[in-house]
């Protein structure tokens, strides 16, 4: 044991100081990867969570930069979670002005017209989020994020988008993938009492620890476009119905040129018709996408308890991806309050799968 320790230490250009016999058998060596230590303030504030994921993970969090586009209730929850976790910075993008819908599930916006009048959702959320953790740099980026250039994404380690069209999801995901820097990409959407998260970590390597052993794992994630191109008939029979339902609505909105959340009850027949066409084209039995489910999702507001749940799960996933600790989910997560299940679905081409 002594000689192997010496070999490791000499490799790191450290001196091995002769130790008292008793010390030699009782000391456990901790070799730090980078020189920085957590400040006293950080140690005190983050004590309880450092006991969950360790000081190294906390350090990595403090160096990470997150971009969030599209701020509704669920994303507000997510932002709260990662600010509390102690990320390095959080950049918010949402130029919309406050509306009744924006207020309904978003606890970051005070219900005072004097305060919110004339300000964008991003600005208001930014003010509140800063209060949760003064050590995190929270800022606002203005502009139409659906057409941001590739260079803008380079500053970030994680990109989370919401409330956008199918085309935007593909496009932003594509830009993140273009960069040589590996950026973790997520989409998140909640409708009625349902929620969906999509994860793209591209090629993700991490160390998986089980009891005494540490094994190197690698996961290969498809892009959003690749994932949704997987033919429906190829997917396992028990795939969450929510997956299909969300794709139908996504395509309907795209085809009709409608913004997310603008659909209403009158659109239901149109959505149902599209569903039939898609099922036929995919040789999928219509029963996989009940009309009742589609009705719930069309034009429905977010449901705050589901925002909390989805925002929590998403927060967890982003923390895992940044810290490199824990098994990240691959690649879709669904929750439906009607049955209460939170399910992970692997929607990827079996040939390219991990």
């Amino acid at each position: 044991l002594t000689s192997s320790i010496q070999r490791v230490l000499s490799g790191l250009n450290l001196l091995l100081i002769p130790l008292h016999n008793v010390e030699l058998c009782s000391i456990r060596l901790k070799i730090r990867m980078d020189g920085e230590e957590l400040t006293e303030q950080e140690t005190a504030l983050y004590d309880r969570q450092i006991r969950v994921w360790g000081a190294d993970a906390q350090r990595r969090l403090s160096k990470s930069h997150i971009l969030v586009c599209g701020l509704k209730g669920t994303v507000a929850e997510f932002c709260k979670n990662i600010v509390l976790a102690g990320v390095g910075s959080l950049t918010l993008v949402d130029d919309r002005v406050v509306s009744e819908e924006a207020l309904s599930a978003n606890f970051l916006i005070p219900l005072d017209e004097n305060v919110y009048s004339g300000r964008t959702i991003a600005e208001l959320c930014c003010d509140s989020l800063k209060e949760f953790n003064p050590m995190v740099r929270v800022s606002v980026e203005k502009g139409d994020w659906t057409s941001f250039g590739v260079e803008l994404y380079e500053k970030f380690d994680v990109v989370v988008i919401s409330c956008c069209s199918l085309a935007t999801k593909k496009s932003v995901n594509g830009k993140c993938r273009k960069l040589s820097k590996r950026i973790a990409f997520y989409t998140v959407d909640c409708r009625d009492s349902c929620g969906e998260i999509f994860v793209d970590l591209q090629t993700y390597k991490y160390a998986k620890k089980k009891r005494e052993e540490t094994t190197e794992c690698q996961l290969q994630y498809p892009s959003f476009e690749e994932a949704i191109s997987v033919p429906w008939r190829v997917l396992p029979r028990k795939v969450s119905k929510l997956y299909f339902a969300m794709r139908v609505i996504e395509q309907f909105e795209e085809a009709e040129g409608r913004n997310t959340g603008e659909l209403c009850i009158e659109d239901v027949p149109g959505v149902s018709k599209l569903k039939k066409e898609l099922c036929e084209a995919n040789s999928l039995n219509e029963s996989y996408i009940p009309d009742a489910l589609l009705e719930r999702l069309v034009g429905a507001k977010e449901f705050p308890p589901v925002c909390a749940i989805i925002g929590g799960i998403l927060g967890q996933e982003v923390i895992k991806a940044i810290s490199g600790k824990g098994d990240p989910l691959k690649n879709f997560f669904f929750f439906d309050a009607m049955d209460g299940k939170g399910t992970v679905e692997d929607i990827s081409n079996p040939n390219n799968g991990s």
Binding site: L19, H20, V22, E23, S26, I27, R28, K30, E37, A44, L45, Y46, D47, R48, Q49, R51, V52, A55, G73, E77, K80, N81, L84, A85, G86, S104, A105, F107, P110, L111, D112, D192, S193, A300, K301, F303, P304, P305, V306, C307, A308, I309, G311, G312, I313, G315, Q316, I319, L329, F333, F335, A337, M338, D339, G340, K341, G342, T343, V344, E345
Partner: protein
């Protein structure tokens, strides 16, 4: 099932939240957003810095203020027109009577200890108000609905009790770091800084008992005008050197165990006393009492570092010195507090030196603090998820949608593709002594055990009653209350000292006692059976209660301790799990997940009696915590094992449908 989003369900509801901590903050926020307009919230705690990583309604400037009140103010900022009534009080207080509970449509728990949960459970049963229970530990979480008559109550299934260790393991044969911590905290720290009149097992019994007892009286007392540095060294040498030598003289103990090494200060520090003093910043002035710290004084910056034996020894001596120099008035009254930096430093150092002596790996201050302070690891995300699940169940309760109540588990690893796993609730346990009428059974030596023993060990400790009333038929044997006249008080005091068979209404085999707690409005019956002998090791209390569902966890020594303090078979309450005032996390919820697999194997309820108290695996949250830090730990990985029979479980008759 009607839409969960219907406002009508929530806007007229009156809900009670118990706990404004980690779960509480998330819950209050979600309730407000979900349309609830009349919320009451009880929490006796004030805000601490370590809360701020997840209890997001609180800010640095709120430290020291009431959680219930600050939470309310914060939520009113984004929902100014709803009614939130805060109570900065203990839920066990008599003002929270059954009538108080009756005014609510549903009660939502966000507690962090078993005691309070049991209390609320009983009151909700008495008031017939549905209760939604919950708990989180790190990434694990659980939400359950309890409805009298429809589902099991919180106490229908066994909940693991705090982990305890045999005295000899702590005083003589530690094999894990946690044993060293318990020694340092409950023995050494208590002896040096706590109540001097308390019994203390600190001194090792040598083969020569006579000489030992004479010696021990003065050894820990600082002699008049004794130099503090000299005192420190003397104590050090006594507990780490002399006592170990004494223990070693007991050959039998070490036959199949590794022998400890005595450590004396002169060896540990490797340098002369004079030099040692030179390293210490003598003029280290501390701003205030609370910032007094041996680490600061010695220039040790990082609480995550594992100190060497020499460093630990210096911290030990320095901490002791600082206590006497800066906090002398407190000595004799101090109890260990995890937020007392100096106490934590002392205990960590002492535990490490002992560990070094016994060949047990040393730990950092950070780790030691966690173990000594029963700190539960906690993150915001799990609490947020659980809060969402609680509100969903609460709405089902308000909509009287009983068929859809679920118990939901938040899992760390996918199980059958799920991270959130709902299962149907269980029917009430007909043998549950809390929510059913079935009597408990107590085996006890009625000719030797006194009423006092019965009250302390059974009624209070096991049944969780705070203000008990004990009757034998119409005869009142004992009660507690403000309205008792002096004669009654005298009578009861006398009764306590009598053995059961000699009470005014003698308690013997076949007697049926009624035991009540009026405040909890909880009553149960107990049939008594006389038994002459009890096993000292397995039944150290000299009593056996059955039909009662919680089982004490006692860690067994790997090897038999022969003739080494063997007569003290009292389990050593390590305080390692439970009653964590710090946060919002509930230990038993974490382990609940593991044992619920065993729930499914319970036989068909109508016929078979409750099996013996389950021997729950060693999966306390503390061990999970230790696992994360690579501690030498022989416990199994805490993967959720229960769902082996997932398919068959859904067919089980015991389920609600």
């Amino acid at each position: 099932m009607s839409s969960l989003q219907q406002l009508s369900a929530t806007k007229d509801a009156k809900v009670l939240m118990v706990g404004a901590g980690g779960i509480g903050c998330e819950l209050l926020k979600t309730l407000a957003l979900s349309g609830f307009q009349d919320i009451h919230i009880i929490d006796m705690d004030t805000i601490e810095v370590s809360n701020l990583n997840r209890q997001f309604l609180f800010r640095q400037l709120h430290v020291g203020q009431s959680k219930a009140k600050v939470a309310r103010d914060a939520v009113l900022r984004f929902r100014p027109h709803i009614s939130i009534t805060p109570y900065h009080a203990n839920v066990k207080d008599s003002m929270f009577s059954v009538d108080f509970f009756k005014q609510f449509n549903v009660v939502l728990n966000g507690l962090d200890n078993l005691d309070a949960r049991r209390h609320v459970n009983r009151l909700c049963l008495a008031a017939d108000v549905p209760l939604v229970e919950s708990g989180t530990t790190g990434f694990l979480g659980q939400v359950t609905v309890h409805m009298k008559g429809k589902t099991e109550c919180y106490e229908c299934q066994p909940k693991p009790a705090p982990k305890t260790y045999p005295v000899c393991t702590i005083t003589s044969t530690p094999s894990k770091f946690v044993h060293c911590i318990v020694w340092a905290k409950d023995l050494l720290f208590a002896k040096l800084f706590g109540d001097k009149n308390q019994d203390n097992d600190l001194n090792v019994r040598s083969s020569d008992a006579a000489s030992a007892s004479e010696h021990t009286e003065d050894v820990f007392e600082r002699r008049k005008d004794e130099d503090i540095e000299q005192y420190g060294r003397r104590i050090y040498d006594h507990v780490f050197g002399y006592n170990i030598e004494l223990a070693l003289s007991n050959e039998e103990t070490w036959k199949s165990r590794n022998r400890p090494r005595p450590i004396y200060i002169r060896d540990a520090l490797l340098d002369k006393p004079a030099l040692q003093n030179g390293n210490v910043n003598k003029s280290c002035i501390f701003e205030d009492k609370s910032s007094v710290s041996a680490m600061t004084s010695l220039g040790l910056k990082n609480p995550q570092d594992v100190w060497s034996l020499a460093e630990n020894s210096r911290v030990f001596l320095e901490a002791l010195k600082l206590f006497f120099e800066n906090r002398e008035k407190e000595i004799g009254n101090l109890s260990f507090d995890k937020d007392d930096q100096l106490a934590v430093e002392f205990v960590a150092a002492a535990a490490n030196i002992r560990a070094a002596s016994f060949g047990i790996p040393l730990h950092s201050l950070f780790e030691a603090k966690g173990i000594a302070g029963n700190i539960v690891h906690a993150v915001a995300t799990t609490n947020a998820v659980v809060a969402g699940l609680i509100v969903i169940e609460a709405i089902k309760v308000l909509q009287k949608d009983a068929d859809n109540y679920r118990t939901t588990y938040c899992l760390e690893h996918e199980t059958k593709k799920m991270l959130l796993m709902p299962i149907e609730p269980y029917e009430p346990n007909p043998s549950c002594y809390v929510c059913s009428e079935t009597p408990l059974r107590l085996e006890i030596n009625t000719r030797r055990s006194k009423l006092r023993d019965f009250v302390e060990k059974i009624v209070k400790a096991k049944l969780g009653m705070n203000f008990p009333l004990i009757m034998h038929g119409p005869a009142l044997l004992y009660e507690v209350g403000d309205d008792l006249d002096d004669d009654m008080v005298k009578n009861y005091a006398a009764n306590l000292e009598k053995v059961l068979s000699e009470l005014p209404a003698p308690v013997t085999s076949g007697t049926l006692l009624t035991v009540e707690d009026l405040q909890q409005e909880f009553s149960c019956h107990m049939s008594i059976k006389h038994r002459e002998e009890f096993d000292d090791e397995k039944e150290p209390d000299g009593m056996l209660l059955s039909g009662w569902t919680a089982a004490p966890l006692v860690e067994k020594d790997d090897k038999k301790a022969v003739g080494n303090g063997g007569s003290t078979s009292n389990a050593f309450a390590a305080d390692l799990v439970d009653s964590e005032k710090d946060g919002d996390v509930e230990i038993s919820e974490g382990t609940d997940i593991e044992i619920s697999g065993k729930k499914r194997k319970l036989c068909d309820v109508s016929k078979d009696p409750i099996p013996d108290p389950l021997s729950v695996s060693d999966e306390t949250r503390n061990h999970k915590q230790l696992e994360k830090f690579d501690v030498d730990d022989d416990d199994d990985d805490d993967e959720v094992e229960m769902f082996d029979d997932w398919e068959s479980a859904s067919n089980k008759k015991k389920r609600l449908r």
